[in-house]
């Protein structure tokens, strides 16, 4: 069995997220109430198209503005970690995303307005954020589709373990645009149905959501700990997993070994696609027998490269409050009996496993617990 990617614990000194519900506390509360942020929205924004489930920040249009309309709400979220003390040699920043500012390139192509272009590349988008927040230049950029945020957290843990940083700020943001909504719609993964993660039904479907978050990782500050990470990349197919579920099992096994004997709940990836949902639920039941499995993308939509950190912030709120939101948007029958549809009390649990998946059969997971 492979060993965990990073067995050294890092403390979670600060963490928050931004969804259409608000910050992590507001999002956690909305999920506990079973609310759904997803709303039927034209897949191509002002150019119309099918009404698909999208969860946009209040008042934000799908079509990109110049400067990008996401910059101000992102800057507000990141206000606690603004300033020149971040992005330095000892307090580096890791920015992760799958979209960065690519909506600006779509706007460039559709409108011909060259002013969109500087924000369209990953480095251009991050430079816009870096300047707005006043960070220094020590900023790493990771982009691995929907496991992007996990890679930033792994890298941060390694910087701390190596003594190469005192604290590390991991930031992730993904804001929707016709670019990404149109792409998933073209792949026939995003359609007019609302997602129902882990529900055994005739057809699968996902929703997409705006999302951003940050985490400050530290060696000694914080009430929660990310104890271990695990990574695995199947490289089987761009948009499908190995049909025997071996990729899910390979990603979860190292964490199951670390967590042996402890009582955990699992925050799965759970986008609402059928085959991946079935494989994931089965693998979770085998790796963590009896552990409740929840997924929150039936409410928030898939926040893409940022889902790992958005859902970390919600999981942290759940551990602190003692209440874990259920799998909003889903109903019986589910792929396994372990799928928790309703909120539950987690005070008797030792922690949570948080998992994400991505194109290319990429898997990433970590173990979050009280420090």
């Amino acid at each position: 069995m492979a060993s965990p990617t990073n067995p050294s614990a890092a403390r979670l000194a600060a963490c928050d997220c931004l969804t259409p519900f608000g910050d992590a506390s507001a999002t956690h509360a909305a999920l506990l109430r079973g609310e759904r942020a997803l709303q039927p929205s034209p897949v191509l924004g002002r150019e119309g198209g099918d009404a698909v489930p999208l969860a946009l920040l209040p008042g934000r249009a799908l079509d990109e503005a110049n400067p990008p309309a996401w910059l101000q709400p992102l800057a507000t979220l990141l206000a606690p970690v603004a300033g020149p003390e971040w992005g330095t040699a000892h307090r580096p920043v890791c920015v992760t995303s799958s979209n960065f500012g690519v909506g600006s390139l779509h706007a460039l192509r559709r409108t011909g307005e060259a002013g969109h272009a500087p924000h369209g590349t990953p480095h251009g988008s991050v430079e816009l954020v870096r300047r707005a927040l006043g960070w220094g230049e020590n900023v790493a950029i990771f982009s691995h589709a929907c496991v992007s945020a996990h890679l930033g957290l792994v890298h941060a843990s390694r910087l701390l373990a190596a003594g190469a940083a005192e604290e590390v700020l991991v930031v992730s943001y993904d804001f929707l645009s016709p670019f990404v909504a149109g792409g998933f719609h073209a792949l026939k993964i995003l359609n007019t149905d609302f997602p129902a993660p882990y529900q055994d039904r005739a057809a699968g479907s996902i929703g997409l959501g705006d999302g951003a978050g940050y985490a400050v990782l530290s060696r000694g500050r914080g009430d929660l700990s990310i104890e271990a990470h695990s990574l695995h990349n199947e490289m089987y197919h761009f948009t499908a997993n190995k049909p025997d579920g071996a990729g899910f099992a390979a990603a979860l096994a190292p964490l199951a070994a670390v967590a042996a004997g402890r009582r955990l709940w699992v925050k799965g990836h759970g986008t609402g696609t059928l085959e991946a949902g079935r494989l994931e639920a089965t693998a979770v039941a085998l790796a963590f027998p009896g552990a409740p499995l929840v997924g929150w993308k039936g409410s928030l939509g898939h926040t893409l490269g940022s889902c790992g950190i958005v859902e970390l912030a919600i999981a942290a709120a759940a551990l602190r409050s003692g209440r874990t939101p259920g799998t909003v948007g889903s109903a019986s029958p589910t792929f396994t009996d372990a799928v928790a549809l309703e909120p539950f009390d987690n005070s008797a649990f030792d922690g949570a496993v948080c998992a994400s998946n991505a194109f290319g059969g990429a898997h990433a997971a970590f173990l979050l617990s009280h420090a």
Binding site: A117, G136, N233
Partner: protein
């Protein structure tokens, strides 16, 4: 100090080669039927990386500033009838995944990075922090077309892959290290890094605040 030893180097400098010519030149490196679906960057990176025989236990670090410029341009051009194929191939880090999927080569750790002036520094840092015995550090760019004047696609093409180990061994070709330095500015762009590898030139200098990169050849 973070350091590893260079055991193998592969580079490709295709200059202005067109995609059709690249397919002909590199088709023997991939399984039959795979090449026609690959991007030019996927072919470049897949070929140099394939020579290093990536394995399950290797850690893979991939660096590209712009990624699949042509697929991105084609996907943007396809609206309002968005192309599903161009969407998935335009997504970072498709350039490294295409060859690995074609060869059905799973890897445990895969760290794809993007970025500008700090890209080489941060990718080298990811490579030198990896726990795997062998780390494969690869990357590259393909030439774009209409996005190039907007500085949103690369204006040149290249690819590289190097194999790094903890132990020096008798066959080491060189050494890559990151050393703490006085907090100051520094930069090393990906095309400059490629030229260092391609011509096996040494380098020692600031590449990011607080970090000095050392590249030595035996």
């Amino acid at each position: 100090m973070l350091e590893r030893f260079i055991q193998a180097v592969r580079t490709d400098a295709p200059e202005a080669e067109e995609a059709a010519a690249t397919r002909v030149r590199l088709k023997d490196r991939f399984a039959p039927g795979v090449v026609r679906r690959m991007t030019q960057l996927g072919l470049f990176v897949g070929a140099v990386l394939g020579e290093l025989q990536p394995g399950e236990d290797d850690a893979l670090v991939y660096a590209t500033q712009f990624g699949e410029g042509r697929a991105l341009e084609g996907y943007l051009d396809s609206f309002p009838s968005a192309s599903p194929t161009l969407f998935q191939t335009s997504i970072h880090p498709s350039g490294a995944q295409q060859g690995l999927i074609g060869r059905q080569r799973s890897v445990r750790e895969f760290f794809p990075l993007a970025g500008g002036n700090q890209l080489v520094a941060t990718a080298a840092q990811a490579a030198l922090l990896a726990h795997a015995e062998r780390v494969l550090f690869c990357g590259g760019e393909e030439r774009g077309t209409w996005l190039v004047p907007h500085a949103a696609a690369s204006d040149r093409a290249f690819a590289f892959a190097i194999a790094l180990t903890r132990a020096e061994g008798p066959g080491a070709l060189g050494r890559l290290a990151l050393e703490p330095a006085a907090d100051g500015a520094g930069a090393l762009a990906l095309p400059v890094w490629f030229e260092l590898l391609h011509h096996r030139r040494p380098f020692a200098g600031a590449v990011a605040p607080g970090w000095r990169l050392v590249l030595e050849w035996r």
